[in-house]
Amino acid sequence: MMGAVRAENLGKRYRQGEKEVVALEGFTFAFPQGSTAVVGPSGSGKTTLLNLLAGFDLPTEGGVYLGEVALHRLSEDERAEVRLRHMGFVFQQWNLIPTLTAWENVAFPLFLAGLPPRARKERALDLLEKVGVLERAHHLPSRLSGGEQQRVALARALALDPPILFADEPTGNLDAESREQVASLLFHAGQERILVLVTHDLELAARAERILYLKGGRLVRQEVPGPSR
């Protein structure tokens, strides 16, 4: 366990032709254990923030710290190792590997971590059972519904039991029933982890323990939803 995720004066600027675009500016926040939703309109910097927190991209200002580790100072491969051991991801597009079956997708991070084949399969099937898609374990992603794919993706994110979970619009492409199932599983998994949820969906965000509002690349408001949620 590396401790809390901390962003300090985090910023990202890039050039678009002659113009400089500020995607994120002066973002400082320590993400505690539990769920934190990041909301805001399109172009507010939500995805940029998640890219920087996960080490997919490097900031132009400030930094990201996992406990004492400065993520932004690590090499590309070192950041990949940190992601493998300490982070799980759930994307809007599910992003399952199309040539692998459901259980093989879940086992993929375990394979990267060097677990023996039998242990990988046992763990993968166990997780698929927990997210309720065990009977679809041997199907390719193309044979699964959106909700099933997202549950497989959630099982994959939890494969190595990471302390940090990132979710980017995890219910954006799902119908109402699947949306509820995935949201329940996600917040359940987030109870004992640092869950960072990026979403447009204010109803979903309201289920988080705290909400951060972004606008124009800046953190404009923090809120702890009331008991009415």
């Binding site: 995805t47 994307f91 990267l112 994959r156």
Partner: protein, 380 residues
């Protein structure tokens, strides 16, 4: 699920493209194996033929290479006598003068190769082990002993005439059993009629047999020192000359097959590059989940290597099968197995195929491993 498993899954997910690429590599490897197998076949045949030739040394005029089947006879009777004299104190057992004459066209199928032998010398002195299947082994003054394949091809039987010129005609007195060697394609006749046809008393070559214990190389060098204008070549010399010629021919044939190989390599590179472009997001997901750059690099290179090595193995198998078919044909036609897929050729073909795969996979692999995660995931 291992790295190999991942690669295989991806190739099988696009079966038509993988199959067509594989076919390209198979054709490229097959053509290379076949082209090079002719050199190997000639090497093997030559070594077998030379091992069947009795004399350890052939004396030929300087400047002549090989066995001297072609060319005008230049060794004079005087030079022959000097050679006999020189050989007496060098451990030479016997020196047999001989003369070659080719009659017919350029095509070995329609040509007749005559070898003249001195009076009283039977062909088994030069080609040990050969036996007559009909008639005799030692030709009379106007007789000819015909090799098995020539007799079969030209439907020659005992008593048939062989006209060498309007004035010189011989009769078939013996037909040899098939030996699988050079003698199958020769007609052995006395020296005199051949010399009469050519209007000379000269010889093409002097064939030197040594007493037991003599070293061919040493005797050849001593003979050369005593016989100016003549060259004494051992079987090893002939092989070395042939090897030089075959190497040049190998290079030419490899150059031709290189075209097919380059096309095969481009096919693999194209397939792998296409696959990389199509799977950019997939690689992004892998990187996001914790795969390092080296993992992606190995994944792509292995895909190219797998295509190339499997294609190489199939190409080698197909090349060997076609080589066997060619040999069946040429054995029937000229009595020689012209093609040989040897161990070193097989190894070379597989290494070339693997090299092809590696070089075709390196650039796409480098590209795939360098795509920024945010771009690969479409999260810019």
């Amino acid at each position: 699920m291992e790295l190999f498993h991942l690669v295989l899954r991806n190739l099988l997910a696009r079966p038509v493209r993988s199959f067509l690429t594989l076919l390209g590599v198979v054709i490229a490897t097959t053509s290379m194996v076949l082209f090079l197998s002719f050199g190997e076949g000639l090497r093997r045949s030559l070594a077998q033929e030379l091992s069947r030739v009795g004399p350890a040394i052939q004396i030929v005029p300087e400047g002549m290479e090989g066995l001297g089947f072609s060319g005008y006879p230049e060794i004079t009777p005087e030079e022959y006598r000097r050679a006999v004299a020189a050989g007496k104190d060098l451990g030479v057992k016997r020196i047999t003068p001989t003369l070659f004459l080719v009659r017919g066209g350029f095509d070995p199928q329609t040509s007749f190769f005559f070898q003249g032998l001195p009076e009283g010398v039977a062909p088994d002195l030069l080609y040990p082990g050969i036996k007559p299947q009909a008639g005799r082994l030692l030709p009379s003054e106007e007789g000819a002993i015909v090799g098995a394949k020539v007799a079969k091809r030209s439907q020659l039987a005992l008593g048939n005439p062989l006209r060498l010129s309007p004035r010189v005609e011989l009769r078939v007195e013996g037909i040899l059993e098939e030996s699988g060697g050079l003698a199958d394609n020769l007609i052995f006749v006395p020296l005199k009629p051949l010399q009469e046809v050519l209007g000379t008393e000269n010889y093409t070559a002097l064939l030197v047999a040594l007493n037991p214990g003599q070293k061919a190389e040493e005797v050849a060098r001593a003979l050369e020192a005593r016989l100016p204008g003549l060259k004494a070549q051992t079987t090893g010399d002939v092989m070395r000359f042939a090897e030089r010629a075959l190497r040049i021919s190998d290079l030419v044939r490899f150059g031709i097959s290189l075209v097919a190989l380059v096309v095969g390599g481009l096919l693999v590179a194209n397939t792998v590059m296409m696959s990389v472009y199509e799977r950019t997001r997939e690689f992004g997901v892998m990187r996001a989940l914790g795969a390092k750059r080296g993992f992606i690099f190995r994944l792509v290179v292995l895909e190219a290597l797998l295509l190339a090595s499997f294609g190489g193995l199939l190409g080698l198998a197909l090349g060997s099968a076609v080589s066997q078919a060619i040999n069946l044909y040429t054995l029937g036609q000229v009595g020689l197995a012209l093609s040989a897929v040897t161990f070193r050729l097989s190894l070379f073909a597989l290494l070339v195929a693997l090299g092809l795969g590696l070089s075709a996979g390196l650039l796409p692999a480098y590209h795939a491993s360098r795509i920024p995660v945010v771009e690969a995931l479409g999260r810019v």
